[in-house]
Amino acid sequence: MRTYERYLYRPVDPYEVQREFYFTRLAYSGHMYRGFAGSWSIDYPKADRQFMIGLKRLLDQLDAYDYDHALPATDPDLFRFPFLYSVEVGYMALSPAEREALRRYLLAGGFWVIDDFWGSWEWANLERELSLLLPEYPIVELPLDHPIFHCFYDVEEILQVPNVGQGRYGGPTWEQDGFTPHVRGIFDEQGRLMVVINWNTDLGDAWEWAEDEWYPVRFSHYAYQMGVNFVVYAMSH
């Protein structure tokens, strides 16, 4: 049994009924382990399930699978799920096979949302991984007038979403030296957005702890807006 599979718990077989949308988390190889799984599984599966509750309520026409859905990059079925979500990519260390599969996935039409990694050291790790994955495509800052910020909700500013601990207790919103939140992206030669990078922010925790009375609602609200926009954009462009 592969590492990520030991960690999976799904109340409903995801493939019993074929759905249009699966919130698919990339189970990548990495340096950090948490129980049986690696850094990919931070906030998993609660953040994913909680996001799906909100997503299905807000996008009520979306035929989506209700629960979490994680796959490694080397799974040939990955190509059946054109939306990917990843966290803690500061610890990501893709194998050559993963890299090849993921590159192919993105160039074929896949869409990858990266979230919850902080500071210059973790950025450097991601940058290195991306330079090996998509060396010919630069990482660029996404301006606020990009359709990804307006395709469902109008997002007028980029908020820094703190982790649950700092959010609950009103501490600083940043971690490490990640003081300023950024939303960056990678486009292919036709101008199609392949990768969205949410740096110095933690949308996943805001979804995961949206029901917590101590976690500020404005961060959850913003995180859902961003998440919904990502899904709408991914399924439209």
Binding site: L78, G109, V232, M235, S236, H237
Partner: protein
Amino acid sequence: MVGLFEFLFKYRPALFEEGRFTFVSPGWMQVAALLAGTLLVVAAFSYRRTGGGADRTAGAERLRWLPPVFRSLAIAVIVFCLLQPALVLSTVVPQETFVGVVVDDSRSMAMPDEASAADGTRAGAVLEALSVESGSMLDRLAERFQVRLLAFGRSAERIESTEQLRFARADSRIGEALVAARDELAGLPLSGLVLFSDGADSAPAELGDALLTLKAAGTPVYTVGVGRPRLRKDIEVSRVVAPRQVLEGSTVEVEVTLSQTGFGGRAVNLEVEDDGRIVNVEQVTFPRGGSAVTARVMFAANDEGAREFRFQVAGQPGEELLLNNERTALVEVLKRREKIFFFEGEPRDESKFLRRAVSQDENLHVVSMTRQAANKFYGMNFDEDTRRFEGFPTRREELFEYSGVILGSMEASFFTHDQMRMLVDFAAQRGGGVLLLGGRRAFSEGGFAGTPLAELSPVVLHDRPADQVRPELLTDLRLELTPQGRVHPATLLRDDREEANELWPTLPPLSAYQRATELKAGATALLQAESPMVSDPMIVLAHHRIGRGRAIAFTPHDSWHWQMSAEIPLEDQTHERLWRQMLRWLVSYVPDRIEIEADRDRFEPGSIVTLRATVRDEAFQEVNRAQVVAAIEQPSGEEVEVPLDWSVERDGEFIGTFTASETGLYRVEVDARAEGQLLGVATSRFAVDELNEELFGAARRDSVLKRIASETGGRQVELGRADRLVEDLSVSSEGTLVREARDLWDMPILFLVLVALLGGEWAVRRRLGMA
């Protein structure tokens, strides 16, 4: 047959038709009848007396009455001759009547297929017939008539001698030439016209009008055909049916009909040339039995502008005529964006990847509206050329500005009745294309049955089961082409047809919610698939016509796997090509609000070009009260304005004519206004060139020659039979005439009948022992 008749009856049937029968000596009639009666009585009496032999058998008894009958009939024949039967004919007075000899001076007369001529050509045969030598047809005619020679190509003009004939004119318009010849000789006592031709008529107008004119003027035309009625060895590009306009980068589908004689069973290469560059070669095999074969040729139109595509077959060994081995078609390759409205009922990857597949196509502008949440839509690709609206349009003007509509997974209950009717009218009245995509809320599963949307579906729909929460997905569908799909341009996923046809079953399997197994009457299926979950083959891609437009159904909901499958190489363009072709097919031949077209795409120099414009308003209602002006840019660059008038015959149709004298490419831009407001502009092109039309169907056309003769009261005459021609013309009812009685008593038939009757009588009498 006519020869036997002439031998027995002395004259040809034609003279009996023209003349009136009479007896020259009617005074003899009573005496002759009295004499005949007396002879009959005597004959009967003599037979009665010799009648009784005791040993006569019963058979002999039955023959007893024959001798008197034979003898009586013989006497009747003699009496008939004594009455001097005669045929009264009106004949022309020698040298007081004129005959016009009209000679086809066109290029086709140079064909070497007339064995009677010394040089073997049609022209040679004509020159021999019209030579001044003794015994020629012209010589024989000149003995009795004043002969006027005329040569014709497009029209007829007088010539003094056959030396002026060149047999090099590009046109031969027989009807116009005959009328012109009649006019040239008007006022003269004209016995008729003699037409020397191969019957090749390149006139665009129907021959009937000219023939009616000649008939009304009482001018019979005697036709003398030259050439063989069938070429021994020839290949001809008989017909090319090509679209007038296509989008740049589209696959152009052209039907080319090739005819042949003497090449049955032979395979030839049909080449398609665009500006000297061969863009496709199609091998065509002629059937052994039949003569013609129609090939469907496809090629890409990649260069913008008016393109002259040449379709040609290389000359084959022994072929008699090579000039008819090619034809050209004028196709305007347009660089414009066809607007398509994509209405999707739910966010899904199929619609995302479809839009992506065509996003790089500069000729397709797909505006989409996707329902994300109840009553919340996400519109994409609206720009300054497209009106902004939310949801599905409620006004015809909003919807009808598009050429095509794609309907995704959207249930029928979403629409108002008016919106559904409007969508049907979009196809039926506006002439647009509607593509119905499969999905869990589409077709039967979307409750289309029993609503106006059902009219759009080319497959038969059924009511959705009342207890159905979610339709079952049919998986592992491997698509295969139907026989119609194997030749359709929309399924051409590779440049090579065979390669494309072999590709389909190898593509990753798809899935669909639609159990479409039954086609509507008049619909055509292009793709089907087997499923273990359904007994009959499932229809995957089908289309049918709806009024002026068309509707297409594509039932799978996940063709995007052909873009994102791990089995498909990244550089593979199958998915992109599929949707580019589908959407180009969807909007092909969709009419514009303002349209302008010449009656043909190619004309001969000097032709009258009829321009026909159609004018409609934003809701595609025809407009009759409009000012329509066509600006024609001639090949020299000079511009001519031609006002077009409402035709009255059809709503919104405006017509004008223009004489195209320059050779080259013409551009027409029409401008339509109503109450000072510009309704729109449209452009079109046509070419003027030497077409050599008469070289197509180059064998002698007896049907044309026969028709001209029979409808004008003339006759078809064989080459060299001057005697017949002179005789026919002499008994014409036209010209300076005199009455003439021709004896019939010496007809060989009368002598033969007399001999037969007397011989018969003698034979019977011998049998009866009466001799």
